[in-house]
């Protein structure tokens, strides 16, 4: 059982973070990326060709993270592989002890730098979750047995900031039904939509069925903010937030303030099981934000416990 699974089962607050993409540099590069934030993070997402750009594979980065002594969450997107390849990667991950899996549909190939590629989507995300569950039950999709059966902590993603807003929690419930036990949310720059999602998830018991983890993105520059606002599918950044960074004397500080405000707001929502941080560059932003939010380092939380409940 992964430590993330143990912590979520015990109802402990968790911090996950996006591992920056790896291209060159091997294990040393993984170490360099981890160094500034590792102390605060319970598990790192190894991304699967994010925004449809090719990088070192999620499985390979997951193995690199294990070797570096930290816990991976292997992302699996439906865009690039058919069901056979997805099964092979899941069973391969389990063979190496990679148990945390985050299943997603994936951005379309047209969002990336090789839009001429064939999109696959042989399965969709709920089907991929159900497939992982079938493997856990000791069978490939065909019914062929796997002995002993692998064990996973199956996760999913959902976007509280994309229409149809009122359906998003039902889609999360479908993923729970398919077998997901945690749910990492897409970055959301519209706090009212996150609030709506969390309240409905809490009121309908969905946040009891899977651990809901909102995402907070730490940007640094005007260009970065404009890129996220215009190029990343599914992220709706209100113009006033972009303008706030554009008119700031120090864009990096302003971006940090925005991340802090959104994180504080997310922590105040009911049913929040943890936070997921995304910082696109190697820097100490995640550690700095955790300190500002009063989230202790991992070891301290493991030893003394920690409850993120914010006075409301």
């Amino acid at each position: 059982m992964s430590s993330l699974e143990r912590k979520l089962a015990a109802g402990r607050f968790v911090v996950t973070a996006e591992m920056p993409v790896i291209d060159g540099g091997g294990h040393a590069e993984i170490g360099r990326q981890l160094e500034p934030m590792e102390a605060f993070v319970d598990a790192f997402n190894a991304t699967d060709n994010p925004s449809a750009h090719a990088h070192c594979s999620a499985l390979a980065v997951s193995l690199g993270l294990l070797q570096a002594g930290v816990e991976p969450i292997m992302q699996l997107a439906c865009r690039d592989r058919n069901r056979l390849a997805l099964e092979a990667d899941l069973v391969g991950a389990a063979m190496h002890g990679v148990e945390n899996i985050s299943c997603m549909t994936g951005d379309d190939v047209t969002a990336g730098d090789e839009p001429e590629a064939r999109r696959v989507f042989d399965l969709d995300a709920p089907q991929l979750i159900a497939l992982a569950r079938a493997l856990e039950g000791g069978r490939y999709l065909s019914g062929r047995p796997i002995t002993p059966a692998p064990h996973f902590l199956i996760g999913a993603v959902e976007n509280p900031g994309a229409p149809p807003y009122e359906y998003r929690v039902r889609r999360a419930a479908k993923k729970a039904l398919a077998g997901a036990r945690f749910l990492q949310l897409q970055i959301c720059y519209r706090p009212e939509l996150l609030e709506r999602f969390m309240h409905v998830a809490y009121d309908t018991g969905v946040s009891e069925r899977l651990a809901v983890i909102p995402s907070i993105c730490i940007l640094r520059t005007v260009g970065g903010m404009r890129f996220v606002a215009s190029k990343v599918p599914g992220i709706d950044v209100p113009p006033e937030i972009v303008a706030r960074v554009e008119s700031a004397r120090n864009a990096e500080e302003e971006c940090f303030e925005i991340a802090y405000e959104l994180a504080t707001h997310a922590l105040a929502q009911p049913g929040v099981a943890g936070l997921h941080f995304i910082s696109f560059r190697k820097d100490a932003g995640i550690a700095k934000l955790c300190r500002r939010l009063g989230i202790p380092p991992r070891v301290e939380r493991e030893t003394n416990g920690y409850s993120a409940s914010v006075a409301v």
Binding site: C78, R79, R83, M104, T105, D107, D108, T110, A111, R119, F121, D122, L123, D124, A125, P126, Q127, A130, L131, R133, A134, G137, R139, Y140, L141, S142, G143, R144, V157, E158, N159, A162, P163, P164, Y167, R170, R171, A173, K174, L177, A178, G179, Q186, P233, G234, D236
Partner: protein, 125 residues
């Protein structure tokens, strides 16, 4: 021409005109608010992806309204099959592409799923 081929052609004429049916051969229109999910560029069978734009258009085709947005809205208005949109639909059997879902419905072929899928105890039928 075989009967199956004739029926498939007739089905395509009727359902293509009304629902832009893509002839996957395992029709789920009644579960998706009578909206063909195979028109989603990602051919998703279980709901909208996270890329739907704020104005409700498709991540892949910005000129097109999200297929699943339509499916959701219509399914809420249907007097029948309420809540069926929330079912976990099985992966598409790619061998059935181009065949008649009417015949596959009668023969039960459209409900055949891989043994590993059927064995899961955690998902409602």
């Amino acid at each position: 021409m075989r009967t199956g081929g004739l029926v498939a052609r007739a089905e395509h004429v009727v359902k293509g005109a009304i629902w832009d049916c893509q002839m996957c051969g395992q029709c789920v229109l009644h579960e998706t608010g009578l909206t063909c999910p195979m028109n989603c560029p990602k051919t998703l069978r279980n709901g909208p992806c996270g890329g739907v734009r704020p104005d409700g258009t498709c991540e892949v085709k910005p000129d097109m309204r999200c297929v699943w947005l339509k499916a959701y809205e219509r399914s809420e208005r249907l007097p029948l099959w309420r809540g069926h949109i929330d079912r976990v639909r099985a992966p598409v059997d790619n061998r059935l592409a181009g065949t008649s879902s009417w015949i596959n419905l009668v023969t039960g072929r459209d409900r055949e799923v891989p043994a590993g899928w059927a064995a899961r105890a955690d998902v409602e039928p």
